[in-house]
Structure formats: structure tokens, C-alpha cells
Symmetry: C2
Subunit: 402 residues, 2 copies
């Protein structure tokens, strides 16, 4: 039997405890031993919980109990979660987390401690919720040099965009719907402005390209400026607007990573990932293109990913998994503005636009305001696009994913 502690009894933590109980027979069979929750750390009393007898408030009980070999951290944030994770690792316990903020900002340090202590720090649930993605990158495509990874990494924004695309709902109304359904928080900034997706693409970039990226250094643009007009025009051109986190190898030991809404061909599989679902595309030099699709959040899907890590850690109490990455360095992350793509531009003045973008394709759209025109540029960096459009009013601009 392996004893574990769960820190944080919110949505994910309670899902972990419940799924462990519900599927215990199969989990025991597949692990080769029983996984038993000994403590649940939370500030709640939990008197009414069927797990009330396990709830404690003092972390040092976990820290000082040598019987606890694995600690699940589902607290979130970088305060207590960081402190307790570090102390758990230093106490020789493996830690499993769903905390993308902590992995993205402190992962390098925590993995170094785990290595020193010969324990595991695993984080399958930190990206893509229930979608297996960390382990597939680390193991299943290890024969490849990865050229690019991108995906729909945030369910809230994908729900809002899907409502805008399929029902013609405005951003503001779609956000209210998402809040009413519990898909968006009352303060939706982290989701809507792309910060959540930024942490996830940072972690994916670290794994795929082998060096640490500071999420705060990346260019991030969310969806709060997306207008229905552009959703409609994009549709008439055969595109859908999707918020993507994207990381691309740009040279020998150089990458770029960023988050922003893109136009994608409506026939691309990723463009058909709707609602709160997530999906991640990886391009490897041997395998070609792969896509992983599933629920990117939620109690039971996230618990599924957390418990997969718990099982793995329980089977390898004496062995270390080798997920990890090295330090970054100055110049490793290049400016995403240098990335060359076609652009969708909605501009105010066709005659000026024609002279500014001689080789662009100009298209009409019924929804346009008098005098506006849409153009699809030839492949340009952001700077080239902005320089060429300096004399015209650009009312909307989107990268087009090829």
C-alpha cells in the first residue's frame, strides 16, 4: 500500500479523492498496490464530507509523516503551493500537481530539488486537463526533433469563440454565458486575456525544446478585442478564429512562443474543436503531425491526469522519471513579431491599402462598414506588416495559421 496526501480540497483535489475511491479496484490492479489517501490538507472543516476524518489543517503533519510517499498539490497559485511543494520534495516525497502557474514559473527549481532528492515532480494535469500530453511528449515522440507545437489551451476562451462563431453572440454576451455556466470566473482576466494559455504554452515549449521559458517574457494577446464582424468575414473566407498558444523552433537552439488569436482554415481538424474542449497539435520531424484532443479542465478529467501521475509515482517510488528541461539563456527566446505568416487585415481605406500591400489579396465581405476592405497579405513578419500599414488605419489584424 502507498499512502498519499492531497493538499487542497477544491474542485480538482476532491475529484482526485473521489475518483481514487470510485475506481479503486482497477487502480490497485494497474498499480500493483493499493493507493490510500491518508491526509487531506485544507482550511475547510469538511465535517459533512465522507472524507472528514482525513482532513487536517497543519502541513507539517504531512511533512513529518514518513509513511506519506506521494503528495498531490491541487492548491493552485505560487504561495502555499510553492512552499508546501518544496518542503514535500525536501522531505523526500514525490509531488504531483495540476498547478500550471507553479510549474511554469518555479518548475525548474522544483525539478532540481526532486532530482537531488531522487523523487518525482510530475505535472500531467498542468496542461490540457485530462488530455495526455506531458507523457506523450516525454516518451512517445522521443525519437523526433519537434519543429512546432500549438493548440487550443484554454476552454473558457474556446467556449466564448465557439458561441461567437456558431451563434453570432457578441464577446460580452458569450462571456456572460460562460460565467453563468461556470466555465469562466467572475474575474475572467487570466483566461480571456490569454495568461492561462501562456503558462501552458510555456510548459509545452520547455518540454518540447528542452529549455526554460519565462512566461512573463512572452507576447500574449487574448480575445477581448475579437469582433463579430471579423468572425463573420473570416467565416466567409473559409476561416475560423481560434485563440492559440504556439511555440516554434526558429533556429539552432532558438525558439519563439506566444499566445494570440489566429485565423485557421475551417477545414483544419483543430478549427473544429469547439466549446470548452482543448486540443494540441505537435509537428515532429519523423512522425509528422499529431493531435491530442479532450477536456481541458473540469473535476474528473483533471483528476484522471493527476491520478495517472500518482500511479506512475507509486510504481516508481525508487526510480526517477526524466521529464525536465535546462535553463534558458539570453537570446534563446526570439521575438514572436519576427515570425513570418500571412495576415488578415481589416482596413479603412482600400486605395491606400492597395498601394501599401501591392501583392495582397483583397476580399469583400457583406458585413463590412462602407469603405472598409479586408486583405490577406503575403507572408510577412509583424514588423513588416506594421511598417507597410503605417499610413492606413488597421481596424483588425490576425495572423493566419498555414
Amino acid at each position: 500500500m502507498v499512502k498519499i496526501a492531497v493538499m487542497g480540497f477544491g474542485i480538482v483535489g476532491s475529484g482526485v479523492v473521489e475518483v481514487l475511491a470510485e475506481n479503486s479496484a482497477g487502480i490497485t490492479r494497474r498499480t500493483g498496490t493499493e493507493i490510500a489517501v491518508k491526509y487531506i490538507l485544507d482550511i475547510i472543516d469538511g465535517k459533512d464530507s465522507p472524507f472528514a476524518n482525513m482532513i487536517i489543517k497543519d502541513f507539517s503533519i504531512i511533512e513529518n509523516d514518513p509513511e506519506v510517499k506521494i503528495v498531490v498539490e491541487t492548491i493552485g497559485g505560487v504561495g502555499a503551493a510553492y512552499d508546501f511543494t518544496k518542503r514535500s520534495l525536501l522531505a523526500g516525497k514525490s509531488v504531483i500537481t495540476s498547478n500550471k502557474e507553479l510549474v511554469a514559473t518555479k518548475g525548474l527549481e522544483l525539478m532540481a530539488i526532486a532530482k537531488e532528492k531522487n523523487v518525482n515532480y510530475l505535472f500531467e494535469a498542468s496542461v490540457g486537463g485530462g488530455i495526455p500530453i506531458i507523457r506523450p511528449i516525454g516518451q512517445c515522440i522521443a525519437a523526433n526533433e519537434i519543429d512546432e507545437i500549438y493548440g487550443i489551451l484554454n476552454g473558457t476562451t474556446n467556449y466564448i469563440l465557439t458561441e461567437m462563431i456558431e451563434c453570432g453572440t457578441s464577446f460580452e454576451d458569450a462571456l456572460k454565458q460562460a460565467q453563468a455556466k461556470g466555465y469562466a470566473e467572475s474575474n475572467p482576466t487570466a483566461d480571456v486575456e490569454g495568461f492561462d494559455a501562456c503558462r501552458k504554452i510555456s510548459i509545452l515549449s520547455n518540454l518540447c525544446f528542452g529549455r526554460n521559458v519565462d512566461p512573463d517574457s512572452l507576447s500574449v494577446k487574448g480575445i477581448s478585442d475579437v469582433e463579430l464582424l471579423d468572425v463573420e468575414c473570416a467565416e466567409s473566407l473559409g476561416y475560423k478564429i481560434k485563440l492559440l498558444g504556439r511555440a516554434v523552433r526558429t533556429g539552432e537552439d532558438k525558439i519563439t512562443a506566444y499566445v494570440e488569436p489566429h485565423l485557421m482554415s475551417a477545414s483544419a481538424l483543430l478549427a473544429n474543436v469547439n466549446g470548452v474542449m482543448n486540443a494540441i497539435v505537435i509537428k515532429g520531424n519523423a512522425v509528422g503531425e499529431l493531435m491530442f484532443y479532450g477536456p481541458g479542465a473540469g473535476k474528473r478529467p483533471t483528476a484522471s491526469a493527476v491520478i495517472a501521475d500518482v500511479i506512475d509515482a507509486a510504481k516508481h517510488l525508487a526510480a526517477r522519471k526524466c521529464y525536465g528541461w535546462d535553463e534558458g539563456f539570453d537570446g534563446y527566446v526570439t521575438d514572436s513579431a519576427e515570425l513570418v505568416t500571412h495576415w488578415y487585415l481589416r482596413v479603412s481605406d482600400k486605395s491606400k491599402a492597395v498601394s501599401a500591400f501591392a501583392d495582397a489579396e483583397f476580399v469583400e465581405c457583406a458585413a463590412l462598414v462602407e469603405g472598409e476592405v479586408i486583405l490577406i497579405t503575403s507572408p510577412l513578419t509583424r514588423k513588416e506588416m506594421e511598417n507597410a500599414s503605417s499610413a492606413i488605419e488597421v481596424r483588425a489584424s490576425y495572423r493566419i495559421l498555414d
Copy 2:
């Protein structure tokens, strides 16, 4: 350094050797040691190959060389591949294979030998080509009880169906195109009649539900009877026809598995998997629905999956991976005819059909022959559907995937 042998220098085997050479720096870094090919076993001379100095014709050289720790079997079939795999395992070597026929028919025996000898028999490449699927099932969703798995498991038939759907090409012409492009063999029976997909769904079923299924015992229907008329009518009803391998839990320690063309909603993600690409959907009781998409065949994608197993085996020379399943038993696999679904039926006589299927939905389609009608039944087993339609001429019948 870990020395390996590659048996069979055809498309997949040569891909393995080439990708190992091309990506050797990254593979060495991720493995923690170099993986070096010592022998290539093939009946060819290979004088012009850059790997000519490694090519041997006598398996016993590999068998008797204690330096060779891992053997890659890319011979195919159950003749020499079976013999050499068994002897390699008995000689204490791990074996990695892309051979779905061998895994589906002899996997249980070969895994037992591997267990006895404390070596690994790994087969990520046997299903879904380059798509990571075996390891995700074994590890990433180990917290789940799996309810169902299905997918597009054969690229040749998906290419043919895609041509029929998108270009209105007849089955015969689409098959000729597939042969001209090298996607179909000159004798296409194994692909077109569903036998290849059957081996793959057998392996997936074994992994997901834990017991061995005899692929020869499953109901298998391919696509050679699919008519353009039904492709068109399905489209007008919002469906696409896709060949699916499917395995479903039907009770306590009971499953069913089969291969046949299905109608699926055109808006389902899987219905938008086109051409030679494959995709597999898994439904787990914690995670919900996942989909894994990628190239289901081809030299480099398959090599990517084989090498992932080689890396895993090289990192765990002294440890065993726990993929495997138990013996089946009489009554474990139930008749797929008992599975309840809606049915699409094209029948000759509307008035008789109306009395036979009182609660069906009757639909018209411009492409129908005079007097024909299409109906969508209420949920029925195959036997119920066949009984109800005994008095009418059924010209086409397809299960509808809900």
C-alpha cells in the same frame, strides 16, 4: 551504449535505421545513452545501402550475440517474425514490433515469455502508426474504467471513403487511385475488407478491457459494398460514412468488438479525419472523451513509434513495462449484433417499410431510385433490425454512431 538489431529492412525497418541515424544526438540525450544498430537482418544483399556492412542473413548471429539487448521486428506476418521474436525473447532480449498481426494473434504467448525472461515486448507501432496510443492507454488514463474505444484504424480505407465523400469518386476508382499512390496494395483485401482494422481493434480492446480477444472471432465488414448513393444520402442527412473498429464494455467482464462502416455526424471531430490519417476515440469514466490523431502508417511515422519503444526499452533494460492482458474466456466477447444503435436503412418499398418500422424517421434523398426510401430507425439490435425488415428488401444498412 545499447546495441540493437533490426529484423526486416523494408519500409518500416529502413525508416527505423534512418531516423535513428538522423536524430541520433537528441535520441542519445533523451535516452541517456547511445542506441547503436549492430545488425540488420534481411534476405536482401543491400550492397548499395549505406548500412550494407550491418546486413546479415542468419538470425542465429543475433540470437547468440549477448551484446544485442534489443531486437526490432519489422518483418511482418506470423512466420519468421513469430519464430525470431520468440527466440529473441527466450535469449533474454527485449523485442519491439510494428507487427499488428503477430501482436493480435500471438501477443499473449509472447508477453508471457517476455515476463518470464524479465524483458519487454513493446508494440506502440502496431496500432495507429505514429500515433501514441498504447502508452497513453497503459499509463495516462490508468485512473479510468474505459467504457468504449473506437476509431479510424486503417488509412487505405479512410482515403478511399474520403475520395468518395469529397469528390464523388466510385469505390472502384478510389481504390485504383489509392493503389496508384501507394496507399493500397495490389491485393487490397486485408485493408478494404476490414481485416487490418480488426487486428488493431483487437489489440486496443485487449489493452483497454484487460482480456484477450481472438481477432478471427470478431464480426468484420469492410467498405467494398459502400455505394456512392448512400454516401450522398448520408451527406444530405448530415452524416459521413467512416469505417470504424469499435470495442465496447457491455457488462461486468463482458465486451463486444467489431469492424464495420458507420454513419457518423458530419460535425463530429472523428468524421473530419480525412485521407490516410487515423484517429482513435477513448471514453473513460473519469476523463470523458479523448481523441488521438495522426498518421496511421508510413515509413517515418511508424519508425517514430518503434524508436519510442526502443528508447523506453533501453532506459529500462533491467525493468519490465507492465502492458499486457489476461486470457479471455467463453462468453467474454458478446455478439456485436446485440449492440443497440439507430440504423440507416435504404429500402425498396416505402409502404411496407412504414408498417415494419412504425416509429422510424423516413427521409427523402434526391439521389434515390424511384420507390426507394431511407429510414432512420429507433435504437435496435442488429437482430431486431433484421427481423423487422424481413419482409422488405434492404438495399443498404449502416449503424449510426451516436
